[in-house]
Amino acid sequence: MSDFNITVNGRQVPVIKGQTVLQASLAAGIDIPVFCWHPQLVPVGACRICLVEIEKLPKLQVACATIASEGMIVHTDSPKTIKVRQGVLEFILAHHPLDCPTCDKGGECDLQNLTFKYGLDYSRQHEPKHRVIVDANSTFDDLQIGPEIIRNQNRCIHCYRCTRIVDEIAFEDDLGAYQRSYHTEILPPPGREIRNLYSGNIVEYCPVGALTNDDWRYKVRVWLTKQTSVICPHCPDGCNMKLWNFHNKLFRATSRANENIDNGFICDIGRYGYQYVASPDRIKRPMVRRSGELVETSWEEALSLIRKQTDDIKSKLSGSGFFGFIGDIRTNEEIYAFQRLLRRVIGSNNIDHRFHRRRRLTPGEEVSSRGIESDNAEFKDIENADVIVVLGSDLHSENPITSLRVKRAVKRHNAKVILLNPLPTPLGKRAATLEVIYKQGTAAVLLHGLIDAVVDLERFDPSAIKLSAAEISDFRKANAAYAGVRGSEITGVDVTLVARVAEILAAAQNVFILAGSYVERDPLRDSLHLAVANLQSFCKSARKIFLPPDSNSVGAAFFGAEPTVLPGRQSWGKKAIYEDLWHGPIPDAPGKDTIGILEAIDEDEIECGLVFNADPVRLFPDGEYVRSVMEKLKLLVVIDSFMTDTARLADVILPLSTFAEIEGTRVNWEKRMQYSQRAIPPLHESKPGCEIIELLADRLGVKFNQSKPSDVYQEMARFFPTGAPTTYAAIGRDGFLIRSAETNKPGKLAYLRFVAPAIDTEYRFILLVGNADHHRGTLTERNEILMKFTGEPFVGISEADATDLAVSDGDLVKVESKYGRVVGKAMILRDFPSKRVLLPENFGEMSTNILMGRQDKIDMIKLAKM
């Protein structure tokens, strides 16, 4: 591996060409103090604390920015270097206020630690210190520079880590260094605040207490806290985090650098998202409905009631009269135990985790989505790709850390990023080479037009791809209706723009396709999946990833939370294995999916539902219909942490613990399984999912004796690939991949049949559902700090439409569709295409699903000023 050796403190240290002296020394376990250096940032040599002595060089050199060369003899602990470190620290401390007792960084401060190790224990300075006075009325000089970030310029040592993180990692522009010398101030640009999605990282990586946040401000001392390692439950990136708790109360979350995933940077949603755990809105005790009102009761009474009611329904309808929904954010253990409860104990296969989107294919749309799944790919593959195609995804807010990898690829080797989206996204302004905005519902046509444009190019080399000339020409013939100008009429994308994208794709050696939520919400989803596979076949070397909607969607699909597959993605033929394993029969036929379940309730075929941390009333299209259907149920048991829209309809509510109170495993989009520790014991009277499921199973007649997640995990472990760890202790910090070894071979090309949906002239606007700034999904509105960024729902409209309707920012507008209507404050979005409306899905007071139809192709709405 190593190219040559250098001598550090008399030791031979291997060096890979291009490494700095610091990197080589740290890799060999030789400690050199640093302030400004960070492994993920370009070295600047600002702080001078890493000065080392290199023989034959007249002066000391900064280790962080000196490239190691063969034969170097380096001394890192000679008397001269120690003396220089003392001197550097003395200069830094000359203007440092030494207010460690009040400073929140105290205890984990690099300056404190290094001063303790190398610094002088006296001061030679008699002059007063330089002080930046922010406000004459306040005693200290703290300045709020963002909704969450507080700056104290006096403590700053000018290492520029913060501005470099904002610039190099996040590609943002809301923080900079102003003035010069020791007058340098870290500030956002005039008139702005720092409010980017990655702003929490600058607090974490500030080596002193110059940048702190409200979350951790004056709450607890770092040495009192205990840290636990958890996996972030907010998106399928699966970042590694540390939760800091003291006396069973959570105080903050920081990153736990994992180079496979997050590189040590987490987004604000994960960083502040833990706060919902201690929310006062939590369901504290079990509740039952008595004469129309939900009243608090004991576990014993709630469970007996469930037993009594289920017995009645079971004798009438057998197992098929039951259904179960489970949320994608739960751990694998809970998902596995839940489907086992439903299949083995209750005898029903009606289970689904996909309650947030339309699933059923309409007749005539014969293509099957089965088989078109994500390829085997990891975060590192994004970094190595030279062209990254982001299709139908607001990657910035849906998968913030994946978005950081894309930016890293741009930073490291100028990777080209192509965005194909129905609306402009934040990533477009920051990292995209080309941003294509198509009309919602026409993405499949766009991709087919793109393929045609690629094949048209002179530089296109058919021998580089695995398709025969006949296949290509047939495909082109079938696609003629979507190519060129005809395609552009359907998609609304300029032909020259498509040609430019094709040019980039044809030149690409290594393409990475990331398909996100707008693909899942696309009315032609299955055709679009096939179109992505087609595009993959036409690229030289391409991988595709369909980003899952929630943090453990991959795990939910793998561990049997779908009506048609058994755990381990086994088909129905393997039923006997499970009957053996669970000592009893399971139903013969596959069950119903979400739509099927709702229709069956409507026809009185299903009378009882178990809803486990899911909220179909809020998320499934046509919310009013779902509500009316759910009201028909004889018994609705909701197991949840919060009073969701579904829970309000429940007959029995059991309080459920949140992610910090349980241990378990989660699977991210790479299919990497990671272990998450329990940080605090369950709050109030809530119980962890596995325990509740065991209680229910016991009450309904079957005992599994697996109330601990570790027991469930041992049973699950038989579905993993061979060699995978069978205990939590064996999982380790990197986790393991549960995918099969074979890579996805490009299949046969599929042809597209596109029929433009009829457009109702009354409803002229297309509804796009997205995420508000600093929000993702439905849990983020429970966090105080995230609400500081975007506090209320809005109706995003374009400037052109705003002038048409005479609406200005903040005016109330009525959004109406055939199915329902909501009222919200208008927000005028710059560069937003007209005739489209963006609604955030994050706020309970304005649920977007009541505007959607269950069968509709495209959600059309009308807008009016109130």
């Binding site: 460690c100 007792p101 009325n137 200290f140 401000r217 004056y218 001392r221």
Partner: protein
């Protein structure tokens, strides 16, 4: 025989003389609690929390006293004032756990906590021994001048309040 005579004529008078001598001395016994011994200058009794000369609390709730406490007798929770100053919202010392070692005084970087000369704080209930911030803070306005010679007299060192000898 000689020894007996010596006891009678020498030892007994010496003893009697000693007794007589003590009988006319000032008695050592003091009439506590009506009379009190002066305390040794380094005696460590009940804690007190000091104030600045403007009456504001010195304690910033940094937690070093609690960290240095070998008996784990100190509990505190910080908060923030309107002026952006950190202060102790809750500050409690369990005087039953306290071993009066004085480490808290030594650790305090703000010259806020001291061990005083007070030793009369017996009580009949154990929970009375948890002293809160209100119990520990010195009375304001002061009834007696502070026994402490502070190194730093102001919360924030500026050119104006810098001692003259340091201005050269």
């Amino acid at each position: 025989m000689f020894r007996v005579l010596k006891q009678i004529f020498v030892a007994i008078p010496i003893g009697m003389f000693t007794v007589l001598k003590q009988a006319f001395r000032k008695p050592v016994t003091i009439q506590y609690p009506f009379e009190k011994e002066p305390m040794m200058p380094r005696y460590r009794g009940l804690h007190f929390l000091e104030r600045y000369e403007d009456g504001s609390e010195r304690c910033v709730c940094c937690g070093l006293c609690a960290a240095s406490c070998p008996a784990d007798a100190i509990y505190m929770e910080p908060a923030e004032t309107e002026k952006g100053e950190r202060y102790a919202k809750i500050y409690e010392i369990n005087e039953l756990r306290c071993i009066f070692c004085g480490f808290c005084e030594e650790a305090c970087p703000e010259e806020a906590i001291f061990l005083g000369k007070e030793y009369e704080f017996a009580d009949s209930q154990r929970d009375k021994f948890i002293y809160t911030k209100e119990d520990l803070l010195v009375k304001w306005p002061r009834e007696i001048p502070s026994p402490v010679k502070f190194i730093r007299k102001d919360r924030r060192v500026t050119w104006e309040n810098l001692p003259e000898e340091q201005k050269q």
